[in-house]
């Protein structure tokens, strides 16, 4: 077997192994909760939609509760002084500023939508919003 054969075979086996181990890891660690934890307080999506009046983004064709209202409901003092990490059930997470939050919605499907950020910031199945020091 030539050097090229060995390098390519080992390379292929390595990436398959890495992908398989990662798949096993995420199936073990994926969150299955139906609740949202915001600033260490836990809510259901129905509770949030009862306590906060939904808004609409006509340009994005989205309807939901404003993320800044959500943070105020969770009792965060001086919200403009913090950053916020939005975490999805699959581990996907994005950190945004207070300015961004003021342009964001949480839909009933628990997905974030921002009018001022790329779609990469749309986190699906949101489970947690962490309040971080700047």
């Amino acid at each position: 077997m030539g050097k090229a054969n060995i390098v390519l075979t080992l390379g292929a086996l390595s990436v398959l192994l890495l992908g398989s181990i990662s798949t096993l890891y995420i199936t073990q660690t994926q969150a299955k909760t139906q609740t949202l934890t915001i600033n260490n307080q836990t809510y259901t999506i129905d509770q949030l939609f009862t306590q906060i009046t939904p808004r609409s983004f006509t340009d994005l064709n989205a309807n939901g509760i404003a993320l800044d209202d959500l943070i105020r409901l969770a009792g965060v003092a001086t919200p403009e002084d913090h950053q916020y990490t939005i975490i999805g059930a699959d581990g996907y997470q994005k950190t945004v500023t207070w300015d961004n939050l003021q342009h964001g919605l949480l839909t009933r499907q628990r997905q974030t939508v921002f009018s001022d950020l790329p779609k990469a910031f749309n986190v699906r199945n949101v489970t947690t919003i962490e309040v971080k020091a700047p």
Partner: protein
């Protein structure tokens, strides 16, 4: 092959790739199929491998990525187009780097098993690499900024997501190499009109699609 011919080839294949990302990618998303995986493992890697067999010059795949990524930016529909454009450009560059590192001589890849192995490596590295690059660059281009903790927390998912493209590319790479063996060679008087027409048609169709979607 002279430089003019290579540049014409880059424009034609890059435009075809961009066209596939914009139009076929949107159809796949509408059909709830894994568009990103299919686009990378079939169209991107297929066209990039084909280009490598036709144009051995360095920079060809980076050029194709730039052309396709620019075309994707003109079609602001179907998912995150800035992220997609960044990922496409990164995929072209990663493919070029990987194949330069592994082997630039396709004569070494005579057996099907070796071609499959290279397909697996290429599918995985190009998909995972493109995904990672876009997770870094997209936040940097936004007002939110990039937080490395977000990327670290999501790294296992990114690494796992490369598995399906790796399996698909194990078939794509040998197929693209086999296509080159077909007796299809364009002579100069036909080559330039065909490549120019392919590029022009791809751009016109994407721009027309954008205008139709903006003003239905």
């Amino acid at each position: 092959m002279n430089h003019t011919k290579t540049i014409a080839g880059i424009l034609a294949l890059g435009s075809l790739w961009g066209f596939a990302e914009c139009i076929i990618g949107s159809w796949l998303r509408d059909a709830n199929l894994p568009a990103g995986t299919i686009m990378t493992a079939v169209f991107a890697i297929g066209l990039l491998t084909l280009s490598k067999t036709i144009f051995p010059q360095r920079g060809t795949q980076i050029g194709m990525g730039l052309v396709a990524g620019t075309l994707r930016l003109l079609n602001p529909f179907g998912g995150c187009y800035i992220c997609s454009a960044i990922a496409i450009m990164a995929e072209g560059a990663l493919f070029e780097l990987l194949w330069t590192w592994v082997s630039t001589d396709l004569r070494q890849l005579q057996t099907l098993s070796l071609q499959c192995c290279l397909g697996i490596i290429t599918g995985y590295i190009v998909y995972v690499g493109g995904y990672t690059v876009t997770q870094i660059l997209t936040p940097l281009l936004s007002t939110a900024g990039f937080d490395p903790a977000n990327l670290l927390a999501f790294t296992p998912q990114i690494l796992a997501s490369g598995l399906l493209p790796a399996f698909i590319a194990a078939a794509t790479v040998p197929t693209a190499i086999a296509l080159r063996r077909l007796p299809l060679t364009l002579k100069d008087p036909v080559y330039y009109p065909v490549t120019a027409a392919t590029a022009a048609a791809s751009w016109c169709l994407v721009i027309a699609n954008t205008l139709i979607l903006l003003h239905p």
